[in-house]
């Protein structure tokens, strides 16, 4: 299937996206955040919690004075490493317990400190690379089924129940398992610790939980002879830390968007821009595919109207990801099937939108989200809407396919619901496997016209944003009808200007 679209408009959109990214990128390069610094510590090997249950990386970063923080945590921590001769984790624990204070080590020369840190940082990057190579090797040994890759969520709140559910889903055909996070975790300014069994509408993202799930999926991958991927959320106030943890535990994908937190979680935009950049640098290095969150425009407002905003956000996400060094093959741009099922020809509009994204981002793995908003208690109808979504996905060659579930409007999925959902996707994608290849949209027909309308409205939108500046545009409510001020929202206090001697070993090594 191939739409005739205005290629020049696409080029102009990319130009606007670059113009939009320029000032944002300039801002990013002059700033850091507490979460970026905490990720540096985590990568160096600092982990654990203090007596109050606060994570050690938080405790350390909080113990820094403002002036010190502007230099980045690395040098200061390096000084203590040199002086104490401790491993990072042991050192971290001592600092967190109050047994040691970072201020004690001010006299260690900067270069010595840097060298000490650099050694550990190399090891960290080594671990990231090993993990990436391991994934590569596993994918060779246990090849996945061809895309659309069936992506299935688990969300019991208890990591051990999640594990049961995830293994069952993999056995039933899932190729990617997402552990939905406990509600509100994106607003926590720290990452919970250890295995957890009480989440709400989802399970906490913790490094221990990542490891438990990864081990279970590795086991089932071997058993099924196909690699089952794992994904979680690098969103919210701990974006880069989760990216670090995910890299270490060999997650394969992460929800990670440059604007989602701003618009849908009221997280400060400066914080978000800085955090997304560093988290994406890590994702780039660890070979993790990001999934962006454009679906949220569609679930919270009218899906027919929001199509240009979705495309605009895809262009911006792409541009900002490129600037963090991510190759196209790791940029999973979001979209969703959310048009009212009772709209005449709604299916044609969905096909247009999905195919448009496919042609504009030919090398990116698109992430396609299922119907949720218009799902009701009528599971029979819902199953059909999911089928049309599945058909659209296979027709337009989507890559990461979140399976829609017939009980979407009722409860977080039951084990049997997941099986029915996977059966639905497998049936439709097989019976219509090459349908998309075998048809041509009628030139000037409804599908093509819709695609070009969306593209040209997107172009106008991006131009407007470029003219205004992204931060100002968000302030003016250009996206998702939501207005956010540059210094408002959660986590603003954690953003700081870099001092002239700011140093982040990973940033340096990953440039």
């Amino acid at each position: 299937m191939e739409l005739q679209i205005d290629r020049k408009a696409v080029t102009r959109c990319r130009k606007s996206a670059a113009a939009i990214a320029d000032p944002v990128q300039a801002f990013i390069e002059r700033h850091s955040t507490v979460s970026v610094e905490r990720s540096v510590l985590r990568l160096l090997g600092v982990d654990g919690v203090d007596a109050d249950g606060a994570p050690v990386p938080n405790a350390i970063v909080e113990s820094l004075e403002a002036g010190e923080l502007a230099r980045g945590v690395a040098v200061t921590f390096g000084r203590a490493l040199v002086k104490t001769g401790l491993e990072p984790n042991a050192l971290g624990e001592r600092i967190a317990s109050g047994a040691l204070k970072l201020a004690e080590f001010r006299d260690v020369p900067k270069d010595t400190a840097r060298d000490a840190v650099t050694g550990h940082a190399r090891k960290a990057l080594e671990r990231l690379r090993t993990s990436r190579d391991e994934r590569h090797e596993l994918l060779q040994r246990f090849p996945q089924l061809p895309p659309p890759l069936l992506y299935m969520i688990v969300a019991t709140g208890n990591i051990y129940e999640d594990r049961t559910a995830a293994v069952a889903a993999a056995e039933a055909g899932a190729q990617i398992i997402a552990v939905i996070r406990s509600t509100g975790q994106s607003l926590l300014d720290f990452v919970p610790y250890g295995p957890t069994t009480e989440g709400f509408g989802g399970t906490y993202a913790t490094q221990a939980n990542f490891a438990i799930m990864r081990a279970a999926l590795d086991e089932v991958s071997r058993r099924l002879g196909r690699y089952v991927m794992l994904t979680n959320y690098a969103s919210g106030l701990c974006m880069p830390e989760i990216a670090a943890m995910a890299a270490l535990e060999r997650l394969d994908m992460l929800l990670n968007d440059s604007m989602y937190g701003i618009l849908f979680r009221d997280i400060n935009m400066k914080r978000t821009f800085v955090d997304q950049h560093f988290s994406r640098k890590l994702n780039a290095a660890s070979g993790i595919i990001i999934n962006t969150g454009e679906d949220n425009y569609l679930t919270t407002a009218d899906a027919v109207e929001q199509a240009p905003a979705v495309l605009a956000s895809q262009f911006i996400n792409e541009e900002l990801a490129h600037r963090a060094g991510m190759p196209d093959r790791q940029i999973g741009l979001g979209d969703a099937y959310e048009i009212d099922p009772n709209l005449e020809d709604g299916f044609l509009l969905e096909v247009a939108q999905a195919q448009l994204a496919r042609q504009i981002f030919p090398n990116s793995p698109l992430k396609y989200m299922p119907p949720t908003k218009h799902m009701t208690g009528d599971i029979f109808k819902g199953h059909l809407v999911d089928a049309m979504f599945n058909l659209t996905s296979v027709m337009t060659g989507q890559t990461i396919h979140l399976c829609g579930i017939l009980t979407e409007a009722i409860h977080t999925p039951f084990l049997g619901d997941r099986a029915l959902s996977l059966e639905n996707a497998r049936y439709i994608m097989k019976t219509a496997r090459h349908f998309g290849e075998d048809i041509v949209p009628k030139p000037g027909g409804r599908i093509e016209a819709r695609a070009n309308d969306v593209l040209s409205e997107c172009e106008i939108l991006l131009e407007r944003v470029a003219a205004r500046g992204l931060m100002q545009a968000i302030e003016a409510g250009t996206f998702a009808d939501v207005k956010r001020s540059p210094d408002g929202g959660r986590g603003f206090e954690g953003v700081f200007a870099r001092g002239t001697d700011y140093w982040n070993p990973f940033e340096e090594m990953l440039s």
């Binding site: 069952a168 056995e171 039933a172 709400f200 919270t300 009701t376 409860h411 049997g416």
Partner: protein, 241 residues
């Protein structure tokens, strides 16, 4: 007395589906059958049974229930008996209450699903039916999402709210009932319960459940703003009289 209807009056036909935590086998089908017999059904047919994972099997069953229900004599409170238009409601309030009714709404607890309460309150409304903000005779306060019960009660007191609307969409592990109950209890503790018309809503709400929880009314899936407006207006008129 009525029964489920398959293709003949009173045949009692019901479709069931469920998962059992056992590997599939012929014996698993039989276990499913016996389980449904134990549930009290007759003429149990396991029409589908299959593995959905190594240790889980899924079943589809048709069976007849002997249970009946006396529909005629069911006394079910309904808050949607007579339909009224926006103009009629405004007129009623203007005439009989003589001032604007002050309405506050919120999605309480940790619930962030505001689409439902927004559908009732926002100007735009729901499915072509205008929201309360559009009415001349309502003064509305939409408190948004994740509003703590304490904050909402404080607000009610401060703003002399006449009608309070609480929403809960997440129902997992009974969180909705917990939060709704907390709201009533706090209102009572503050001696505010009798001052307000108290309504709750959400996709799983029913009038009966609302009454049991101590609310004046409850609104479920598909509620239109005008239904809520009519209820508030009528109640308010009663109070004034």
């Amino acid at each position: 007395m009525i029964k489920p209807y398959g293709d003949t009056l009173n045949d009692g036909k019901v479709q069931l589906s469920f998962t059992l935590p056992i590997p599939w086998s012929e014996a698993a089908d039989e276990a499913a059958r016996q389980l449904v017999v134990k549930m009290g059904f007759a003429d149990v047919q396991v029409v589908e049974g299959r593995a959905v994972a190594e240790n889980f099997s899924f079943f589809i069953v048709y069976a007849s229930t002997p249970q009946t229900i006396d529909f005629e004599s069911l006394a079910i409170p309904s808050v949607k008996t007579h339909k009224m238009t926006m103009d009629e409601i405004d007129a009623l309030i203007e005439e009989r209450v003589g001032r604007k009714i002050r309405v506050a709404g919120a999605c309480i607890g940790t619930d962030a699903h505001t689409v439902g309460i927004d559908a009732i309150l926002n100007m735009k409304g729901y499915q072509g039916d205008y929201g309360l903000e559009r009415y001349k005779m309502f003064e509305t306060f939409n408190r948004g999402s994740q509003v703590a019960v304490e904050d909402l009660v404080r607000f009610t007191k401060e703003k002399k709210i006449d009608a309070l609307l609480a929403s809960q969409v997440v129902t997992q592990k009974g969180s909705d009932v917990k939060n709704f109950t907390a709201l009533v209890e706090l209102l009572e503790a503050e001696s505010l319960r009798d001052n307000v018309i108290l309504c709750c809503g959400g996709p799983r709400m029913t009038s009966l459940l609302a009454t049991e929880l101590g609310y004046d009314a409850g609104f479920g899936r598909g509620t239109l703003p005008s239904e809520v407006a009519a209820f508030i207006a009528t109640r308010m008129v009663h109070r004034v009289d």
